[in-house]
């Protein structure tokens, strides 16, 4: 970092890196950048893709990418109550989870089909756990089968995971689960 820039409150990091960090928090990504010299000044144009409300289908199985294409799913009981939330390669994992011990009488529902960033998936997983009663490790009477949180509050990436869940994404997800 340039000392004068730090004093002035500016970063001298490459503009693309700054944009990537900012966009990652809201689930966006840089899709291209170009430098142009205009009147002796270098102007960098950055093209970004916003993914505030994810859609589409990410790769599954061998094509799964846990950094940019995670899924999110819930398992419900027959009455429709959410009992478990999971993330990862949702199409691959949902049946594995549904048929494991304690979960073979539950109903799986994919909320996002591998189209979330890792930060969005972890952030949403924790938000849903919080919204619907907390994990068993902290609340003995919790109806959840999740035993531990998605991430610890002391995790260095915790702010990134929290910030990745915008109000719009949270509302969109709650609508998907029927709340």
């Amino acid at each position: 970092m340039d000392v004068e820039a730090v004093k002035a409150g500016f970063s001298t990091a490459h503009p693309r890196l700054i944009a990537e960090a900012a966009l990652a928090k809201v689930g966006g990504k840089v899709i291209g950048d170009v430098a142009e010299k205009i009147g002796g000044v270098v102007v960098r144009k950055i093209a970004a893709e916003s993914r505030l409300l994810p859609s589409g289908v990410g790769g599954a199985g061998a094509a799964y990418n846990k950094a940019t294409g995670q899924g999110l799913y819930v398992l419900r009981d027959e009455a429709g109550n959410i009992r478990y939330v999971g993330r990862g390669d949702a199409p691959a994992r949902i049946q594995t989870r549904a048929d494991s011990i304690n979960k073979s009488e539950l109903i799986g529902d994919v909320l996002f089909d591998n189209n979330l960033t890792k930060a969005q998936a972890k952030g949403l997983e924790q938000r849903l756990i919080n919204e619907f009663g907390g994990v068993r490790a902290h609340f003995r009477d919790s109806p959840w089968l999740n035993t531990i949180n998605s991430y610890s509050s002391t995790n260095p990436n915790a702010p990134l995971y929290r910030d990745a869940v915008t109000d719009a994404l949270r509302q969109y997800t709650l609508k998907k689960v029927g709340r």
Partner: protein, 139 residues
């Protein structure tokens, strides 16, 4: 167990009897997942179930292959899956529209209202549902 079970006619145990179903779709996208055309009837223990019994009103359920892996469900015959049956797999999952393993695009509000949602039921639930169907006479 043969890993390709699409088109199979299967019997599913329930307390004191059996249910009957046809597997109309086996997904590669959704690993370990099949679509069951589960006929809304059950047969009592000892009934002689024939090919004609795989007919009539049905419910559609997505479930796993675990009923077979745990040697509870039995394949008794096989028949072609018709075009009409394949069309029954048009559904939404995660806000996306699918038919079989073909992704048709992001669901509109109209799609979400009109199409069934792909919910995957644990195999024990399927056996429980069979137990709720009315008893039928085989043949």
């Amino acid at each position: 167990m043969n890993s390709n079970v699409e088109g199979s006619l299967v019997t599913i145990p329930t307390e004191g009897g059996w249910g009957v179903a046809k597997i109309i779709f086996q997904s590669e996208q959704y690993a370990n997942t099949i679509c069951l055309k589960l006929y809304k009837k059950r047969f009592l223990e000892g009934a002689s179930i024939g090919a004609n019994d795989f007919s009539g009103p049905f419910d559609l359920y997505y479930t796993s292959l675990d009923g077979f892996k745990k040697k509870r469900w039995t394949i008794v015959a096989n028949e072609l899956v018709s075009g009409d049956e394949k069309a029954l797999t048009r559904r939404t999952s995660g806000g996306e529209v699918w038919v079989e393993d073909t992704h048709l695009g992001t669901a509109t509000e109209a799609d979400l209202a009109a199409l069934p949602k792909m919910l995957t039921h644990g195999f024990k639930l399927i056996e429980k549902y069979v137990g709720r169907y009315p008893v039928a006479v085989a043949g």
